[in-house]
Symmetry: C2
Subunit: 449 residues, 2 copies
């Protein structure tokens, strides 16, 4: 819902160019809430309001707009105003935004930035999006190891406005090589011991991310070690930047969303659902639909192959969708559970036998229960009670097969170095469909033949 | 993989009761890594190693063990040693652990704790698990508004060892009512202005969580406002505790995993996949499988209803699984995309018409493409080219129906106040299966009849 509470007042202030009230609107509230109250304004109006905020506040409020609005603002407005804003945006966020602008626009804005920011942007642009380098910000507190706690705090106080986080200080030598890390918490606790230097306090066993490391692996480290930020280093351990906890939440969300999409046989979108091009979207879905379609074609050949049996026992045809869907559903349950358990680290490859034992018990329980219901229905339809037995026996077998396939394939995929979510559900569906028909007709042959 | 690098040395140190080396092992490394190196030890051995660590370090290392090991340790060892450990565990984590112990065991441990910790545990136990109260820790920095930056830092230094985070200070009045918030960053930046008090610096527009608020809503606030921690208040705005960013990552992970499970028709597990009881697991899956089974039964009745047509045109039977699966797969793609987009906030209710327009375009593209392939196959099987047209026409119609159902139902569910992930894929599958058959036979009737 768009928050429209302040819209009339805001528009009135703009019409009157009421500087005092607009400045107050930009400063009193939490910047996130200020942005919320501006949601109903046009981009033009919102931009005008922003001009009444102090530069650092302006970039904070701007940071809470959705990406679409942010990009339109950077695209449409006066380059010098835009450059003044870009200067204040945290280094990691502004690079992500600049990547989305046209080259001409970037060339208009870059020359208006201070040389240091310009270099910084160019350097960060050279890192790949899904690596530690692509996530990091270069605004990090680097200090020498000789400082005392009090000196370090004073130094931090001077730098604080340029830093994204001040909750870890990084101790580096003259080559920027990472020596250790001191948390502000340790610093504060050490105020009572003026003789201690950063070198005495620092933790030297630092968890670091390599600049080329995949973002998901970085996120797992941050989660595992409960970090507020992780330092990013190059191969010779030079400190290049840090990745902060808010970016890690985004990575976790992205990772799990991609998982869910892969499980449903969609290649990960890598963009907003409403923003992605329709042709790209069709491609990302069509490629899997087509693969699944060919898998399902096999069922047509199988059924054709069993033409004779099906003509002889017509009532068997009625249960085909039921049997196939029971196998497919139980298989996709197993696959999804195993995939999500592996993503969250609950299931490792070494657990495969436990998974299989548990799945066989569960599938026997589920299969027997559904077989009972199926039998109850089949006795009304089949020519005899003996004939009706085809349905429960098939259901039990198909559900057990479905669960086993669903549980096994993600583990096998993972073992083979592939993403377990990548092809498992389509694979499971395809295999179980065809298995289901083969089991069904052969059970029928034996019992009815 | 279990890290076995230090195992032989560790066992040797234990056998020799080598205090100096064991103490060193517990202190030099990052506590997370210390825990990793202990993974291969038995719980008994690991407990013994822990006794060589200082109390606060001991609880840090303990915090990195997996939950199973943590619980076994609390369950099996000497109550007084356990109580000494429990005293040091952060307030929110220890309550979660204690909830899992038997009442007898809790009664053994609680009396050995200092009265303050005991009261604290009892209070936190009274909050529900999935609310802000269940997530929060009570270890929070509360200060009066008259302090200067320097005084506040010194006071923080004294309290730091008992606090989970010192990165926000909460300014409260004499009733513990929340007045405002000061970040350590502001504090550090204000060191140069000794005349400023916390009251001057504090932000009064504070984003808070209500103690009974659902954890997902809390997580969204923390994400939206990029917070390191969020204060938890009761109805009269008294500060009860805070929730820190690491707990928020866990909530996001839990929420998205539950989504993926619901999409695959499994009621959320609420426990580790390998730890949950098999009967519970069967129940959580069986209930949905049964519902889906009854939906699929409808297809059996439909096919029985069309017995005559199917006996007349036997080749139509061969394509039944193909048609059903094409509709089901495209529907579950749409449903998954819409559900994940709604969870991440990209799609809101007001976007429904955009979603439907986009889905109709994509489904026409996908449907036409698969219809072409289907036609190419059908001409080889069907008696005439005209007859073969049944397949592509049906495929196109079924895929468009599947996508529309898949995209619409999650939005309708959300609008009705239900969890969009709750029933959408099963619903979509059921509806599309039956629709698929009805469309198929009727297209056949018109073209072949």
């Amino acid at each position: 819902m768009v928050n429209t509470l302040f819209l009339p007042e805001l528009r009135e202030m703009l019409a009157e160019q009421n500087r005092a009230e607009l400045e107050e609107f930009c400063t009193t509230l939490n910047p996130g809430r200020t942005a919320e109250f501006m949601e109903g304004l046009s981009n033009e109006e919102a931009w005008e309001v922003l001009q009444y905020a102090e530069p650092s506040r302006r970039s904070e409020i701007f940071g809470y707009f959705n990406e679409e609005r942010q990009l339109e603002m950077l695209r449409d407005h006066d380059p010098s105003q835009v450059a003044a804003l870009v200067e204040e945006i945290p280094a990691d966020d502004r690079v992500d935004l600049i990547q989305e602008l046209s080259d001409e626009r970037v060339q208009e804005i870059l020359p208006l930035l201070p040389v240091q920011d310009r270099r910084n942007i160019q350097r960060l642009r050279s890192y790949q999006g899904e690596t530690a380098g692509g996530l990091m910000t270069t605004e990090v507190a680097k200090l020498g190891e000789k400082l005392s706690a009090r000196e370090a705090l004073d130094e931090l106080g001077r730098q604080a406005s340029q830093l994204e986080t001040i909750y870890y200080l990084y101790v580096v030598d003259e080559d920027d090589s990472l020596r250790g890390i001191v948390s502000t918490r340790q610093l504060v606790s050490s105020l009572a011991h003026p003789e201690l230097t950063l070198g005495d306090m620092m933790e030297t066993d630092v968890v670091v991310a390599n600049v080329t490391e995949d973002q998901e692996s970085v996120a797992h480290k941050v989660e595992r070690f409960n970090l507020l930020a992780i330092p990013v280093v190059d191969a010779s351990r030079r400190l290049l930047g840090i990745i902060t906890h808010d970016d890690v939440i985004d990575v976790v969300r992205e990772e799990l969303t991609e998982d869910a999409q892969r499980i449903a046989a969609v290649a990960p979108l890598e963009d907003d659902f409403l923003r992605i091009g329709l042709l790209t979207l069709s491609w990302k879905r069509g490629i899997w639909l087509t693969i699944l379609f060919f898998a399902a074609l096999l069922t047509a050949f199988a059924l054709r192959h069993y033409e004779e049996e099906l003509q002889q026992f017509v009532w068997l045809v009625w249960f085909i969708p039921l049997i196939i869907s029971a196998g497919g559903n139980s298989g996709s349950q197993s696959a999804t559970l195993v995939i999500t358990a592996m993503t969250s680290g609950q299931v490792k490859f070494r657990d495969w036998h436990r998974v299989l034992i548990r799945e066989s018990v569960v599938s026997l329980l589920l299969g027997s229960f559904l077989a009972l219901i199926g039998f109850a229905v089949a006795v009304f339809v089949a020519p005899s009670v003996r004939d009706a037995l085809v349905i429960p026996i098939t259901l039990l077998a198909v559900i057990v097969c479905g669960c086993m396939c669903g549980a096994t394939l993600p583990i096998v995929f993972k073992r083979a170095g592939l993403d377990p979510a990548l092809m498992s559900n389509p694979f499971v569906a395809g295999i179980v469909d065809i298995l289901g028909i083969v089991i069904y007709i052969n059970v029928g042959r034996v019992l009815l033949g």
